[in-house]
């Protein structure tokens, strides 16, 4: 009888913790593993050297920015891929609505209302706005602020205004 009561109470506790945890990860902040080397100097820097054990970076994703959809250039964001809604991609915002983007291959693109231009830090192997086009801001599901694992790389994700790809020139619209 005592064992049953104990089981029941621990099950109840697990249920409560799960509910509250899921809500917090939905609304405020959550942890996520980043795979692939498309953001290479910032996230997953040693994926290239195949020294045996390679761990993915775990990052903290904050979701307060979703209340107003206010982002700035240089933010690293998580967004659902426009071609496959089950996939999530991590890229850096290079341009916001109203900006002009000069591409070497194509001509100049103006970012339409409610969209943004995303690029990976590792230009060589990154599938980003250069192939997908501007991304609707509504697909964004969080902003990466910190790396939490591995321990030697704990810290803030740098706001890399200067690490934006050199070949993507952005004309910034002055807010008046």
């Amino acid at each position: 009888m005592a064992a049953r009561g104990f089981l029941w109470s621990s099950a109840k506790k697990c249920f409560t913790a799960g509910l509250i945890g899921l809500t917090v990860s939905d609304r405020y902040a959550s942890f996520m593993a980043v795979r692939g080397s498309s953001m290479s100097p910032t996230l997953n820097p040693n994926n290239k050297n195949s020294s045996g054990f390679v761990f993915d970076d775990y990052v903290l994703v904050e979701k307060f920015c979703l209340a107003k959809y206010k982002f700035s250039r240089g933010d690293v964001v998580v967004f659902r891929s426009p071609s496959n809604y089950k996939e999530k991609n991590v890229k850096r915002i290079a341009a916001l609505p109203g900006d002009w983007v000069h591409l070497p291959s194509l001509d100049t693109v103006r970012i339409p209302e409610g969209h943004c231009w995303v690029v990976g830090d590792n230009a060589a192997c990154s599938m980003d706005s250069r192939s997908l086009g501007p991304i609707p801001l509504g697909l964004i599901c969080g902003r990466i602020t910190h790396v939490v694992w591995p321990p030697q790389r704990i810290g803030r994700v740098v706001d890399g205004k200067n690490s934006i790809l050199p070949e993507v020139e952005v004309d910034i619209l002055e807010e008046t």
Binding site: T16, L19, I20, L22, T23, D26, R27, K68, Y69, R80, S81, P82, S83, N84, Y85, P112, E113, G114, H115, P136, L137, G138, L139, I140
Partner: protein
């Protein structure tokens, strides 16, 4: 004498604190349950505007939006869906899905003024949405195909006004 009194106070404080913690956990649990129902199962939404006439009224309807089928990928042509607007992520629009990825769509570019029509194939991972009232609707004809990830839910039930209460047909 004094020590005993202090001990008694401490005990009282402890039980009060325990009670407060217990109550706040129950409260947090309630809020979480509310949030999870709202985001993953269904939520009521008020919609208005001329774009979905005659299915939905101009003045405003309260609809029950079911959130499960977009996650499972069970949204198909003919469903009325709630979509986050690609032009303004803080706005949500209600439209009907006309075609899913791979479908060939033919639409009138400017209905009412000319018969010019245009056709294209919906790209991968996108849907084509249109309002039922093609004369006053801002939809895929202006915005282009919409990424599937912007679909928030499928409208399944009308709650208000009471004379139209019932499931929403195709």
């Amino acid at each position: 004498m004094r020590a005993a009194k202090l001990l008694q106070y401490a005990r009282q404080w402890k039980s009060a604190a325990k009670e407060v913690v217990g109550h706040s956990i129950v409260f947090a649990q309630f809020l979480s349950l509310l949030h999870l129902t709202d985001t993953y199962i269904c939520s009521p939404t008020l919609v208005y505007g001329p774009s979905m006439l005659p299915t939905l009224n101009l003045t405003g309807d309260v609809l029950l939006v079911e959130k499960l089928s977009p996650v499972l990928g069970k949204v198909g042509p003919g469903d009325v869906v709630l979509v986050r607007s690609p032009e303004n992520p803080r706005k949500r629009i209600t439209k009907r899905i006309v075609g899913v990825e791979g479908d060939a769509i033919t639409f009138l570019v400017d209905p009412g003024r000319s018969d010019r029509s245009h056709s294209l194939v919906v790209p991968k991972g996108h849907v084509w949405i249109q309002g039922d009232n093609i004369y006053a609707s801002n939809d895929s004809r202006q915005l282009g195909p919409i990424p599937y990830g912007l679909i928030l839910g499928k409208v399944c039930f009308r709650v208000w006004p009471p004379e139209d209460f019932g499931p929403l047909g195709q």
